[in-house]
């Protein structure tokens, strides 16, 4: 920890432009940021996070009628959250008769997961993440 990189001297003159030339740049481009932020935004609600958690655990398909009683919410509200997740590309659904079964699209979370640190300590990982 505490890498102390000290990017720029910058202790000189408070006058003039603070940093004559930009020294840092985003490493991810705008589209990547948009995509990952959209995923993160959809996960940015405790209910939706738990829905995704449930769907992931049961890799098969889970009926909406099983989801609703898990949360102290009305059925339309749960349906709304599912719609948000569907529009974010995180889940998809399949109708069988009267019931709708939802499941997580596995690849949807990968880009964000790869960007985030901490899936496991680096020394136990062979991936090339920084």
């Amino acid at each position: 920890m505490a890498v102390e990189l000290e990017l720029a001297p910058k202790t000189k003159r408070p006058a003039g432009e603070c940093c004559t030339e930009p020294l840092v740049y985003p490493d991810i481009n705008g589209e990547q940021a948009e995509r990952m932020a959209a995923i993160a935004k959809a996960l940015g609600d405790p209910i939706r996070l738990q829905i995704v958690d449930v769907l992931r655990k049961h890799a098969g398909k889970v009926c909406v009628c099983e989801l609703v009683p898990l949360f102290d919410l009305s059925q339309p509200t749960v349906s709304h959250h599912l719609k948000v997740l569907r529009e974010a590309g995180i889940v998809d659904s399949e109708r069988k008769g009267l019931w709708a079964y939802y499941y997580v699209i596995p690849s949807a979370l990968e880009e964000l997961g790869a960007w985030l640190p901490g899936c496991c300590p680096p020394e136990s990982c062979n991936c090339d993440r920084a």
Copy 2:
């Protein structure tokens, strides 16, 4: 993929309670969901995601005056995003004279990162994630 777990028969009677007993449960509790959702929510904006990306790359500290010109936003707006990230516990700042230096709190992203899949393929990982 396509585990086809088929959690419940549920092809029987459309009448009566659809699922007499709940068969799935969230595996994470409410507090975990709240914490992770708060982090995800803070990351749910492309600007903030890129800010975190920049701060992470330069593990030392980055001056606000370097951050502002990177985005086509006013200085108060960037300051606002930094405040959101600070209140989410993702970053912290340190003042040195006139300048404010921001840095990522490494542990902040760990819980969410561990929950998400895809940091690397499971076979290259020794972690115990499902």
